[in-house]
Assembly symmetry: C2
Homo-oligomer: 460 residues x 2
């Protein structure tokens, strides 16, 4: 990383964005503005360039992209979101793409390969050395959520039968160490990992001591098949900066660093927020109308289906509604509160499930607790709204039915709120995806059925 | 950190949890089981102990807590969630609390102070040295979301007029370096920060070179008043491990490390998920019924209010519903799809606002795009459901009203979906909190009003 790069906080970044957008709009003003713009762009860190590109509509984004000097293209492509990366690559010809990706490391290349046009791939693979090619292929052989797809291959390895003095002299032969290096990996002559030497210990111990006397033999090691989010939680829990990745026999094959793990944590939370909001994937805010429609289509279709089912449930009771039209006005309250309460329960359970905090024993306690909370809320809130209904429609029996229906629907919401995510986890599915839709479907149709059913039996 | 501590992935942790719960249930079996249990607990990393305590119901949690050796209490208290911390501290007497917190650093103490019973505070403050006390007070003077509340004071500072050789000799006088140290801070004799010396550069450069020749003079420095989430984004963007914190005159006053920033990123995403799910704060899954009720109360009350308003809107059209009861069955579809679509738009806008990616120019484009998407979805999905309504009720005019109402409600959803978060941001409020409730309220009441209103004008 170069020190000439301008850096700043989010609000600094926003100012830069406004400034660059303004410069771009004045580009007809000619050469001097163009020079200033080029200068400003050249000074930006690749991550900041990515931010600017993501924040601009397509035409302005490409106008900026064409002004970026080609040697920085690769680093910037690595930083932008998938949707924006696609739009940038679509604007590049084969020669530009090759020039952008050739300087990258194997793990970085593997990140980009999926988004490159397939015509480029043979030429790209042919241009790599044997070791690079093997590494890219290895990284591609793992799934996106496995550590193997995220690890890098830049690391410093040492032997345990040398002195710290020798290690210090060895390190001075490097121009620079791999980013975020906080420990050296100790291997035997077969490349079997035998321990790690934190840079701290290298620095505070007398130089004549041997590596074997100072190193930590027992460490956090991970495997390429490990779930990336599991590993990210370990990084968070034990405050790790880097960790070795070994194969099943214990041979050192790569390294994983905290920057990749921070991205995993971010993406995991993002996907939860997105899926709760009903978006299939991260959406470029300037995506075309058609792309946006596709991204949101699935969720709307599912919702239309569940809304239609709820509508048919109401249809069963049209006779009752015709006789007592107050039912039509009151029924959305019963359904709505059930949905809200169920989603509160699910939010809590999904988090506890993700952290693997729920045991068989505690699941039983949770049911019990949620049912008691539902009963309490049903009686209190149902009572309040029941009294209001009584007062509005001057019909105490209607108020009573309202209260009982709300209580029953809240109990249903509690049952589904715990049951649906637990069941989804048992079936090996991600409970964060879809639990909310299912619960709302249950409490909507269930709420209408309970309220209108009770009303038909007792009031009509 | 000690290497004898057992560590593991999330699933390993879950096994440990089940095992410890099982040991606890067998405690009547007597001494041998007790010894095994104590041993297992002693081997656990404080973060893993925190996980176990969070995953157990209150009685079992306290049974484990009483078996933890007192010298580890402080570290574990730092790791547990707020709700669980409260339950643990409530179980300790004043002497135990003092013993637990006395070995902690100033920044760690500041984290705990708010949760300690007020009787302990005078004794605790009196037990601190002058510098410690000043640091605790300084940390407490900042708000929770400001960097000053999160920075620590453990750092290694050096002068720029010495050789790297001297730095290496100086470091050997330490027993250990502060955790996650990746750079040394270079200060002049007034403690004014003049640069940083990454450990990497210390290691790869010849020892006879001077610090001033090697150090990076221009660095990412932060201020204690900075917003913690802004700084966390900078850590993420520039892959930082530690960074200096300076006051407004540039004097070095503390340090911020990536582990604290990972926690900030995690908490920010968590609070978004929680608030969307309608929970006020993180809920201990074994919280008492009463605490759960309090935590969820506000959201339910707001929802009851908005549902009540929507219900009164329906009440205005009771005459129409009595004449054409199909309206009652169809109206929840119009309202529901509007709510969903509005929430999709808001999810995307809230994210873009949080990243400060929206400029005045792009806001206009966004409105336009969202309105076109809404128009498209309204015509397509409204058309589908309109045809279904026509077929079900054999009434083409009803189908047409359904389609027009859905389109209008989707347009309303798009307007609110962009407008509400933008407006909340202008008013200086967090758009992630409450946008979803407001939009659902608008699309529910609005949907009923549009659909029933159109139906009353054209069908009745």
């Amino acid at each position: 990383m170069s020190d000439s790069e301008l850096r700043g906080s989010a609000s600094r970044l926003h100012e830069q964005l406004e400034e660059i957008a303004a410069l771009l709009h004045r580009h007809e003003a000619g050469a001097p503005v163009e020079v200033v713009l080029q200068q400003r762009l050249q000074q930006l860190h690749p991550a900041d360039m990515a931010f600017i590109l993501e924040s601009l509509p397509l035409d302005e984004r490409l106008a900026i992209w064409q002004r970026v000097s080609p040697d920085r293209d690769g680093d910037i492509l690595l930083e932008v979101s998938d949707a924006v990366r696609e739009s940038l690559i679509a604007d590049m010809d084969q020669r530009e793409i090759m020039a952008a990706v050739e300087p990258l490391d194997a793990d970085e290349l593997a990140d980009l390969v999926e988004d490159l046009p397939s015509e480029v791939l043979p030429e790209l693979m042919a241009s790599l050395g044997a070791q690079q090619r093997e590494r890219v292929q290895s990284a591609l052989s793992w799934k996106d959520d496995q550590l193997g797809a995220l690890m890098d291959f830049e690391m410093v390895t040492i032997r345990e039968d040398i002195s710290l003095e020798t290690v210090l002299r060895y390190l001075r032969r490097f121009d620079e160490l791999p980013t975020q290096t906080d420990k050296l990996f100790v291997v035997n002559h077969d490349n079997l990992l035998t321990g790690v030497l934190p840079l701290h210990w290298l620095l505070v111990n007398p130089p004549e001591r041997m590596v074997s006397a100072v190193m930590a033999p027992d460490v956090n090691t991970f495997h390429p098949a490990d779930d990336a989010y599991d590993v990210a939680q370990a990084f968070e829990r034990y405050d790790l900066v880097t960790a070795p990745v070994v194969d099943e026999r214990g041979y050192l094959i790569g390294r994983i660093a905290v920057d990749a793990m921070v991205d995993v944590i971010r993406e995991e939370s993002d996907s939860e927020v997105l899926s709760r909001g009903g978006l299939r994937e991260e959406e470029d805010i300037f995506a075309s109308v058609w792309k946006s429609v596709q991204n949101r289509w699935a969720w709307l279709a599912i919702n239309l289906m569940t809304a239609f089912i709820a509508s048919r449930v109401i249809g069963l009771f049209e006779g009752s509604i015709r006789q007592l039209v107050a039912l039509a006005a009151l029924m959305p309250i019963v359904a709505g509160i059930g949905g809200n309460s169920g989603n509160q329960t699910t939010t809590m359970i999904v988090r506890a499930l993700a952290l693997k905090q729920i045991t068989a024993e505690s699941a039983r306690r949770l049911w019990r607790k949620e049912l008691v909370v539902a009963l309490f809320n049903g009686v209190v809130w149902g009572g309040v709204i029941g009294c209001v209904a009584w007062w509005l429609y001057d019909n105490w029996a209607l108020g009573l039915v309202m209260m009982v229906a709300m209580t029953l629907n809240l109990l249903l919401a509690a049952l589904c709120g715990v049951g649906i995510p637990v069941l989804m986890t048992r079936l090996g599915r991600d409970p964060a995806l879809g639990s909310s839709v299912l619960i709302t479907a249950m409490t909507d149709s269930g709420g209408f059925l309970i309220f209108l059913g009770l009303a038909t039996v007792f009031l009509i």
